[in-house]
């Protein structure tokens, strides 16, 4: 998988180029900065993918990265998991569990998430709903403290009470704004969610099906990467590169090096 870095300019496995770019910028600034700019490979991959997040007109949402996309661009998965865990503990980013599949997680940088909460708060203000102080309480007490993707009801209540007197309407406001959802299995637990993400989740699951059916319909269930990248997806508002990274990372597709370039195949297992 190391050879893929030299592939097309729009290519996906640009890990080697990313690394060399980071190293050169590192070297330039090594005299002025001592600690920040320590890019592990995972961090470089996260920043590049955040920059590549497709622009969607209809929905205002901050960029997020799927965990399977990270697996496809950094070689060692265990290292990705451990790096994510340490970045999560340092509160650089936050991990959310999505309901699109068995094990889908979305990674969002903390500053993006805060701006998303601000946007939701402004929207609720415009709608002239009451109890808006709960957003502040949520931001200062709950988000900073609870790093896991889910939270129990009484713990949420206790943490919000550190800001003021909590009523049931406060929690309903958070749920309506899209920051929390109830778990289906256990009515006492909530998942943290990214607000306004519904249409994108639908796009993710339908886009996956579309890419897989596109390849499955072909006789040998494979296609050249260069021509696959140029295709447009009908059902998803996200671009092909996003879906390809996600499907390769989750193992549904695999990349094979051939004399004419990279070929994407549906994996048989």
């Amino acid at each position: 998988m190391e050879n893929y870095g030299s592939e097309s300019s729009k290519g996906k496995k640009r890990r080697r180029e990313e690394e060399s770019a980071a190293e050169s910028s590192d070297f330039d600034q090594i005299l002025s900065l001592e600690k920040s700019l320590t890019f592990s490979d995972t961090m470089v991959a996260l920043r590049i993918m955040r920059a590549q997040f497709p622009q969607i007109d209809k929905v205002s949402i901050q960029p997020f990265i799927l965990q399977s996309q990270l697996y496809s661009s950094v070689k060692d998965r265990t290292r990705v998991d451990r790096d994510l865990e340490s970045l999560k503990r340092e509160k650089v980013l936050r991990i959310f569990k999505l309901n699109t599949g068995q094990d889908d997680h979305a990674i969002m940088f903390s500053e993006d998430y805060s701006s998303q909460i601000e946007r939701v708060k402004k929207r609720s203000q415009e709608k002239k709903l009451g109890n808006l102080e709960v957003f502040e309480w949520f931001k200062t007490h709950v988000i900073d403290f609870k790093l896991e993707p889910s939270i129990e009801h009484h713990e949420l209540w206790t943490l919000l009470s550190l800001g003021g007197k909590v009523k049931d309407e406060h929690i309903s406001l958070l749920i309506n704004a899209g920051l929390l959802t109830r778990q289906l299995i256990d009515p006492n637990m909530y998942w943290f969610t990214i607000p306004n993400i519904g249409s994108i989740l639908k796009g993710i699951s339908q886009g996956r099906k579309e890419v897989l059916s596109l390849l499955n319909r072909r006789r040998y269930k494979e296609m050249m990467l260069a021509s696959l990248e140029k295709k447009h997806l009908r059902l998803s508002s996200l671009d092909m590169r996003f879906h390809l990274r996600d499907l390769i990372g989750s193992g549904h597709l695999k990349i094979v090096q051939t004399p004419t370039g990279l070929v994407v195949q549906v994996s048989k297992d």
Partner: protein, 450 residues
Amino acid sequence: MWREIGDREAGKIRPNAFANRFKRNRIESLQLSNHKDIVSAHRGSINSLQVDLTEGRYLLSGASDASVAAYDVQRPTEYEGNGIIGKHKCLFVVDRTHESGHQYAVSSAVWYPIDTGLFVTGSYDYHINVWDTNTTQVVTNFKMPGKVYKTAMSSLATSHMLIAAGTEDVQVRLCDIASGALAHTLSGHRDGVMTVEWSSSSEWVLVTGGCDGAIRFWDIRRAGCFLVLDQSQSQLGRRPPILDRSATNKVSSSKSSSPSPNLPVKARAAQRKLSNGSSMKQSPIAKIPAKGPLRQRLHPGMLSAQDRATAHYGAVTGLKVTEDGMHLLSAGSDSRLRLWDVESGRNTLVNFETVRLQTSKPMQLATSQNSALVFVPCMTTVKAFDMWSGRTDLTFRGHYECVNCCYFSFQDQELYTGGNDRQILVWSPSRLVYDEMDEGPHQDQDNWSD
């Protein structure tokens, strides 16, 4: 190889290192066996395989057509193909027509750990039967309230003879062969229990995995479980260095108190208490944050029933404790395989490249002797992962349908797998040419004969 034997003789290689290197080479060359074939006597998918622990000679298999059979894997019953392929037919088979046989699928068949005179089978007809091998008669039988998913007996036990049974019911039951009655039950799971395993380091510790996604560790001498694994509690590395663990606890509590310096002292103390309460070890003094109307006085051992931490996002379908008892592997219906450090109870975050795992049935995992490789049935293949890095080392493709169970025999370095296609396949190290000299009846010839 001869050079290595010479080195061992001279003292250059230690005997253990020599044996391990040799075994490792054999494991790396595992492939579908071309000299051993097990003739499956079953007409349903194979749910459970186990080779006996005393001699490593007899393979016991349980299948969905309510049949249980045993095979001798070291001596073939007949030879075929010019004496090269050994066919192993079953020594006996017990099925529905047997007077006290099971009526529905057999989900688990295990040998009595002390000798092969007894074996225990659990089935979807709610019964656990203990059979005498030589007469193939049922000696004792236990009725359970639900379908039996797994039965297990501890191989280390010297003072008890308990069969741990995981069923559709939320309670794990311990059945005693000596008295023929139910010893006690362990409650704490909130849904059926799909897998049970005894610890390989203590005869009193039982690990169970439930359909609610929780993995609990029980000391059977006490009430309640002493550890519930939580997938969000993780450590970076195989074992945490001693300072690191206390440092992360301090870091989390200091971070919780730093963002709000204006809070009254009481609230800060409440925050710190919460950060302590979220760690997995339960202390006997109730440290539950005040829950309001739900406050009830519970036995300290039963506090763990309130702990709703999950180890997987779906049901736990397979568990395996490593041989040294320090790590635990768990497979879940969220298609992930996780490696846990038993002593600290944390997820080591090793990512195994599993794409899809079977979700509706319990599955059997296997490890190689030094715990370097894990064999996992992934749909129609069996994959061997490196335990510490999660890379796929070997893939075994041979079954036509989903593989349910696999068993690795340490003595011969052979892997036995059984699946929905009713076959038991043997994967053995490839035989080198000079080995063919000593198998089967061969004509007495030397190199000079015509």
